[in-house]
């Protein structure tokens, strides 16, 4: 048993090795847990909408709450114009949430603690929003980089800063989720290691700490999914309603 706190993030192959040209497409533990999260999500939503009762059952209540939560979030941040993008943001939010939450189970693997996963999600958001902005506003979308009410002397500097901040969006979106999940899980494992090394006499203190940290991590898991979704909404708002 390895005591390295980074050991939990190791990706290994399950089953046969599949190579497609130069690309290694083998089924790994990361893909397994991503599939588990996706199927858990589908199962929960299916169970919730299976029997549509006027007085909802517990499952239906969870589904309805998550629906109205995301709907309210989109309405508050991006307005009614973003209504058609509800399925995308709902899927994004629920997928990230389920990946984070499945990662909180002992002996499981956190898919979102790998930057490639979060970066692909962020890149989809970034490229999609950019294309949407250009389709909706044409070349006028570049006005996003020119804030209103800025003195003309400052404009060249401001435009460069705005362009850099726009281009760093996918990086910050990806790194935020990845770093939060990875730091949290490393911290849990480090405190778990303290329990073992301090033994029966002194191990109770880090054990209590570990329990508290698990609670914090569940909060962070929800919060990061929420932040990921709400930042997507904010970017969408920039693309849909220019300068509002």
């Amino acid at each position: 048993m390895s005591s390295n706190p980074m050991h939990q993030f190791e990706v290994y192959r399950i089953g046969p090795e599949i190579n497609l040209g130069m690309v290694n497409l083998s089924f790994t533990n990361a893909s397994l847990f991503m599939a588990i999260s996706a199927f858990a999500l589908i199962f929960l939503l299916f169970l919730g909408t299976n029997k549509k009762l006027l007085i909802p059952s517990k499952m239906q209540l969870i589904t309805e709450m998550s629906y109205s939560f995301v709907a309210k979030m989109i309405n508050d941040t991006a307005g009614a114009a973003a209504k058609p993008f509800f399925p995308f943001i709902f899927t994004l939010f629920m997928f990230v949430l389920f990946c984070n939450m499945v990662g909180m189970l002992p002996y499981s693997f956190t898919v979102t603690s790998h930057i490639i996963v979060t970066f692909v999600l962020a890149a989809v958001v970034f490229i999609g929003v950019t294309i949407l902005g250009f389709v909706k506003h044409g070349i006028k979308y570049l006005e996003l980089f020119v804030p209103k009410g800025v003195p003309a002397v400052l404009l060249p500097l401001i435009i460069i800063i705005e362009i850099i901040s726009y281009l760093s969006r996918p990086v910050s979106l990806a790194v935020r989720l990845f770093a939060n999940m990875m730091a949290g899980h490393t911290m849990l494992k480090v405190f778990g290691g303290f329990v073992i090394s301090l033994g029966l006499l002194g191990g109770w203190l880090p054990l209590g700490f570990s329990v508290a940290l698990t609670g914090l991590e569940i909060l962070v898991a929800f919060l990061q999914a929420y932040v990921f979704a709400i930042l997507t909404c904010i970017y969408l708002n920039d693309a849909l309603n220019l300068h509002h």
């Binding site: 980074m6 979030m73 508050d76 910050s172 790194v175 935020r176 990845f178 770093a179 939060n180 990875m182 730091a183 919060l223 990061q224 929420y226 932040v227 709400i230």
Partner: protein, 75 residues
């Protein structure tokens, strides 16, 4: 200096970023509380903004952690 030792020192220095995150999170929650004390009826509406600010501030500290990890493991 040995490369290994320099790496350790650099990774430790990168953890200073957490000081800024601590200050930021403190300011966010402190100001939220003082605002909520003044006007409790408006507090609930601003709770999502509180969480958003908290997560944004925390993330900047975690960028420091990423720098530390890159120093330790990527070079």
């Amino acid at each position: 200096m040995e490369l290994e030792a320099a790496k350790m020192i650099g990774a430790g220095l990168a953890a200073i970023a957490l000081a800024g995150a601590g200050v930021g999170i403190g300011i966010i929650f402190g100001n939220y509380l003082s605002g909520a004390m003044r006007n409790p009826s408006a507090a609930k509406e601003q709770f999502p903004n509180l969480l958003l600010g908290f997560a944004l501030a925390e993330a900047t500290g975690l960028f420091g952690l990423v720098v530390a990890l890159i120093i330790l493991f990527a070079f």
